[in-house]
């Protein structure tokens, strides 16, 4: 039987090609993902091993053993000036640790962030300022810091000096000797670039920057003199790491610092790495699974057609004594051979995909370190197993039909057309599944939050609906394709025959279209959901905003209170409204108050007042939103005792309700994003604001003067690289911009499923052309020319593609609408909006797919040798 199977594979190379290609692509996706996962995990692990090399104990400030809460100001440690962070670690402590027996050396570090202005004045990577590392250059015994090998110049040694890593220097355009402008939290600072180092810190390789200062300067910038963020302890050879960790811990103050052994730290890091890469790999495997699932339809179709075409051969085998089981086995072996060959090729392609995924995902914003391609033994094994299993399982259904072929069929002369099986079971099952799915989705559409159980319910409903549609597709094909036939009939007899051909075997047509439907359901769902979300975000970004510019700090460190006045003095500025925010509790309701200047705020924001007006707002007098008024039962004239939450970087606000304030409600406005629950004077809000600074300044330009104001604002505020000046358009982009990248990536991943579906259309058409050889010969004989034959195949292809696309777009839209309600809680402005242009594009794409998929089969059909075709049997 193996030989028969092998011969069959070889004899039907062309007909199995599309099937093999489908499996190949699916497996390539799987193996690409697996290899990519291994490679990324390895690169992360290397990076972490590198950074932990020689660290026996790591002491970190900010967390004390057993207490996860960060230290609050004044908790026994020196609070730095200039708002510097406090730290429990100081030089004396470092000395004490250094003196412990078994300790070889200690490396106390200061860690912060510094964002550079490039030589051209433009900020470098300011929107991801958390990636812009700054730390102290710490010379070891040899006078060099082993973490940062010097490439050029010398190490920073004085207050006016700094060093950069090579990539950063190149990106910013600085050379040794240049004066570098940068900012750590607010204002711009300058220092002289004295050295260039190299680093392999993953955050830097992923697009961040690295700035080095001498220890004293770093302490001044980020902490306080003599303070450190962390102390890395290197042990003498033979020292017990755990014992050492305990000893170090005993030297630490009870609160505000924690010692971890290097081994624990490494274990924790690799656990996190594994978790992160597994999450990414799982998501990608999900898409690979979709691609493979689509491939299943092609495999089923191919083997069904092959067995129908081969029924006489199979009958002959049965007549000469092969058992049913042997027939089934031969089909399955054939499938396994195809699966194996295709999977092997797919794995090879997967290696290419894995290599390509890295830069692709890196541009998508994921932080991935560089590293060599890693192929674990499980990757090829899993890929081959998946490929073979999917092919064999998909061929199993058709193989059972092969077993049903009676030996006597060898004698029947025509007997090729299998009797049309009833669609009754399908109808019942499909209606049941679809009905259930739709019911679940209708229930989902009444839900309002996107908590896990709701998401699971939505996914279940979506899967049920989609499966139901797949089962129902043959039934739906008749009315829909008949309708399409009205259009194709315009193409004359070719169009009429195309319609009839598409209708002829509803299962085959449906299986072919279903493959396309799955891809388009997902893509449409994504498009509708994405578009609606984008619209909601856009609207949110500018709701109630009348300003032309929003000025803020890109590291969220706030703006000086004087900033609003500085901007207001610029020519061309009509109004500059300061905005600060703070949280408070009143009448048991948690609320956020926006503090501003009532005189200018009206120009920068659109507020609709239901009672009172903005003019009434002032120190001690606030306006509240209608929603907050309802929740807290407030009316104009009421006075509230607001528990102002203390700012200053402490989320643990419950302990700090010592800041009661009496506020009188003087106005009520319709809730809008521009002002939160309440609106008051900036002086009332600032003391309780998170940074004790302004969140932003809203700038309204004089009519016609908005253009070019950005540079003037930057200059007026000292042009710190952390200064962020956004126009309305940029605000909108910031709201939904990052989504476009993610959406495009998802489209790309789903495109694979569509590509495989296209192979399915090609496959079905090619095999149908083969089956209809005699018909085509007869049509040619009685006068249909080659172009007519081509047109016939092409139109059938287009009809099948459009049918699949229509079902997919319909199902996808429904699912997106139903699941859209889950965003209500987190995105109140969300509303399902159909991206008509995009949906139209999808339909046009399906049309194009139909035309393209038909090219090869249509050519074959038109080129058939007429005489041989007529005489073929």
């Amino acid at each position: 039987m193996l030989r028969t199977a092998l011969r069959n594979v070889l004899a039907h190379k062309a007909r199995l090609m599309m099937t093999a290609l489908a499996v190949l692509l699916g497996v390539a996706f799987v193996s690409g993902t697996l290899v990519f996962g291994d490679t990324t995990a390895n690169a992360f692990r290397n990076a972490s091993t590198q950074s932990l090399k020689g660290v026996a104990v790591a002491v970190q400030a900010g967390e004390s053993a057993g207490d996860e809460a960060p230290v609050s100001p004044g908790a026994g440690t020196a609070a730095g000036k200039d708002g510097g962070r406090p730290s429990a670690l100081d030089a004396a402590l470092a000395q004490k640790i250094r003196a412990l027996p078994g300790v070889d050396s200690v490396r106390p570090t200061v860690n912060g962030q510094a964002t550079l202005a490039g030589k051209d004045g433009r900020p470098v990577n300011a929107d991801s300022s958390w990636q812009n590392l700054a730390t102290n250059y710490l010379p070891g015994k040899d006078g060099k810091d082993s973490r940062f090998p010097l490439k050029e110049g010398r190490a920073p040694a004085a207050e006016g000096e700094l060093a950069l890593d090579a990539t950063t220097a190149e990106k910013a355009g600085y050379r040794v000797g240049d004066t570098v402008r940068f900012a750590t939290d607010g204002p711009a600072l300058t220092k002289k670039l004295v050295g260039i180092v190299t680093t392999d810190d993953p955050r830097v390789t992923a697009g961040g920057t690295l700035t080095l200062f001498d220890t004293t300067t770093a302490q001044k910038l980020f902490l306080a003199p003599g303070r450190f963020d962390a102390i890395a302890v290197a042990a003498k050879p033979g020292a017990d790491e755990r014992a050492l960790t305990a000893q170090v811990q005993s030297l630490l103050p009870a609160k505000g610092a924690r010692a971890t052994s290097g081994a624990d730290l490494a274990a924790e890091q690799s656990r996190q790495i594994a978790e992160n890469t597994t999450r990414l790999t799982k998501a990608l495997l999900g898409f690979a699974g979709i691609a493979l699932f689509v491939g299943v339809f092609i495999i089923v179709n191919t083997f069904t057609m092959l067995i129908a075409q081969r029924s006489r051969e199979i009958a002959l085998l049965r007549a000469v004594g092969a058992s049913r089981r042997q027939v089934v086995r031969s089909v399955l072996i054939e499938a396994a051979l195809v699966g194996l060959g295709a999977s092997a090729a797919g794995f090879a392609l997967g290696l290419g995909i894995a290599t390509a995924l890295h830069p692709l995902l890196s541009t998508g914003g994921a932080e991935l370190p560089d590293g060599p391609l890693v192929v674990s033994p499980t990757a090829p094994l899993a890929s081959l197993a998946v490929g073979v299993a999917v092919t064999v399982l998909a061929a199993w259904l058709p193989s059972r039909r092969a077993a049903k072929i009676a030996p006597v069929a060898v004698l029947s002369s025509a007997g090729l057309a299998p009797p049309a099986r009833s669609l009754k079971v399908r109808t019942v099952l499909g209606t049941l599944l679809t009905g259930l799915g739709v019911a679940v989705m209708l229930y989902v559409s009444t839900l309002r939050t996107s908590k896990e159980t709701n998401l699971m319910t939505a996914m279940l409903g979506g899967a049920l609906t989609l499966c139901g549609m797949i089962v129902l597709a043959p039934l739906l094909s008749r009315p829909l394709i008949t309708l399409a036939g009205k259009v194709t009939a315009r193409f004359g007899v070719s169009g009429k025959l195309a319609k009839e051909n598409a209708l002829r075997n509803p299962r085959r047509t449906a299986a072919t279209s279903s493959a396309l439907m799955i891809g388009l359901t997902l893509i449409t769902g994504l498009a509708v959901g994405g578009y609606s979300t984008q619209r909601a975000l856009d609207e949110e970004a500018t709701q109630g905003l009348a300003a032309d510019y929003k000025v803020s700090n890109s590291a969220y460190r706030g703006l000086e209170t004087a900033a609003a006045d500085d901007i207001a003095e610029l020519p061309g500025v009509a109004a500059a409204a300061p905005v600060a925010s703070a949280n408070f509790d009143a009448q048991g309701v948690f609320a956020t108050i926006t503090g501003t200047d009532p005189k200018t705020f009206g120009r920068a924001a659109d507020l609709t007042f239901q009672a009172g007006s903005l003019r009434d707002v002032g120190p001690g007098r606030i306006a509240v939103s209608d929603q907050f008024a309802r929740q807290a039962g407030l009316h104009v004239g009421d006075t509230i005792d607001a528990d102002m939450h203390t700012g200053g970087g402490t989320p643990n606000t419950k302990n700090n309700k010592n800041n009661k304030k009496k506020l009188t409600v003087v106005a009520v406005y319709a809730k809008t994003r521009a002002a939160y629950d309440a609106l008051g004077a900036v002086a009332d809000v600032l003391p309780s604001a998170e940074t004790h600074k302004l969140d932003n300044v809203l700038v309204k330009a004089e009519p016609g003067k908005a253009a070019g104001l950005e540079q003037k604002i930057r200059q007026a505020l000292g042009n710190s690289p952390l200064l962020k000046v956004q126009t309305r358009e940029q605000l909108i982009k910031a709201g939904s911009g990052s989504m476009t990248t993610v959406l495009n990536m998802l489209y790309g991943l789903l495109a694979m499923a569509v590509v495989i579906a296209v192979l399915g259309v090609v496959n079905t058409l090619a095999m149908s052309v083969f089956e209809r050889t005699r018909e085509i010969g007869m049509l040619r004989a009685i006068g249909l020319d080659r172009s007519g034959i081509r047109q016939m195949v092409r139109l059938e292809s287009v009809v099948i593609s459009l049918f699949g696309a229509l079902l997919g777009i319909g199902t996808g839209t429904f699912l997106a609408w139903a699941a859209g309600s889950l965003t209500t809680a987190s995105m109140p402005l969300y509303e399902t909006v159909l991206p008509w242009a995009k949906l139209g594009l999808f339909l046009a794409l399906a049309l194009l797919i139909g035309v393209l998929a038909a090219i090869w089969p249509a050519r074959r059909a038109a080129r058939l040798n007429m005489l041989r075709a007529i005489q073929a049997h």
Binding site: S413, A417, G492, V493, K496, L497, E500, N501, L503, R504, R774, E775, M778, L779, R780, A781, I782, G783, L784, D785, R786, G788, M866, L867, I870
Partner: protein, 262 residues
């Protein structure tokens, strides 16, 4: 315009004598070198207008090749083949297709019909391809003649083999071609159905003035024709006017024995 000719002025009575199609020195050679096969060796023959001609010969005699060449289904190696005034050897694929569509009717041994179309759709298919509206009176006459009026909405799978061949005959007749080529039209039928179909073919020649050329190896079938031409080894070797089955059988036997001795 062939269209105008076929829809307006086709005679109802037998046409005046003359050739509807003829071949002069027609040769067909397959392959080259060692695999060279001469299927037709300088055949000259004419098929009379309004006549029913049978082409007979043992298998491999070239009778099917002759039909394929005369019907524009296959190319000609040498010599000439004409349908009416049209020289086939000069036509390209597109023109041959058009010629078949407009001037020739076909009846094959099997698989004449598209399974997706019903009987009447199959009958009008050549005219659909040409984009012509069928002449309803003529269509009724043809359908009535082959006795299918009751089954026009049936699909081929719902018809018996004989009925399917009658649909094929009707299709060939419906567009009023200048000539109909039939390739073993009764090869797949039982003798009763076969006789029916042959009867229709003969009637269409006698009553409707149709020209028919039929390839067959069955002497009984050949006996329905007005004239039989015999082919052997790619050459025209004999012909028999107004044949009977016995005459044909007798002639065939003679060829086989002479064929064997030389």
């Amino acid at each position: 315009m062939p269209q105008a000719a076929s829809t307006t002025a086709v005679p109802q009575a037998p046409a005046p004598a003359g050739a509807a199609a003829y071949a002069t020195g027609l040769s067909k050679i397959y392959g080259a070198g060692e695999t060279r096969v001469v299927a037709l060796d300088s055949v000259s023959v004419e098929f009379g207008r309004g006549r029913f001609t049978a082409i007979m010969g043992p298998s491999g005699s070239g009778k099917s090749t002759l039909m394929h060449c005369m019907a524009g289904l296959d190319t000609i190696s040498a010599g000439s083949a004409r349908i009416g005034d049209t020289e086939l050897s000069r036509l390209g694929d597109r023109q041959l297709t058009r010629l078949r569509r407009d001037k020739i009717g076909f009846i094959f041994q099997a698989f004449n019909l598209l399974p997706t179309l019903n009987a009447i759709e199959n009958i009008t298919l050549p005219m659909d391809i040409a984009g012509r509206t069928p002449d309803q009176d003529w269509l009724d006459l043809v359908v009535g003649t082959v006795g299918l009026a009751e089954r026009l909405r049936h699909r081929p799978s719902q018809l018996s083999g004989g009925q399917q061949q009658r649909v094929a005959v009707a299709r060939a007749l419906a567009s009023r071609p200048e000539i109909i080529f039939a390739d073993e039209p009764t090869g797949n039928l039982d003798s009763r159905s076969g006789a029916e179909v042959l009867g229709f073919l003969r009637d269409s020649v006698r009553e409707l003035g149709q020209t028919i050329v039929m390839v067959t190896h069955d002497p009984v079938a050949a006996a329905y024709a007005d004239r039989v031409v015999f082919l052997a080894d790619g050459r025209l070797i004999d012909e028999l006017p107004a044949p009977t089955a016995e005459d044909v059988l007798d002639r065939m036997r003679r060829f086989e024995t002479t064929g064997r001795t030389c």
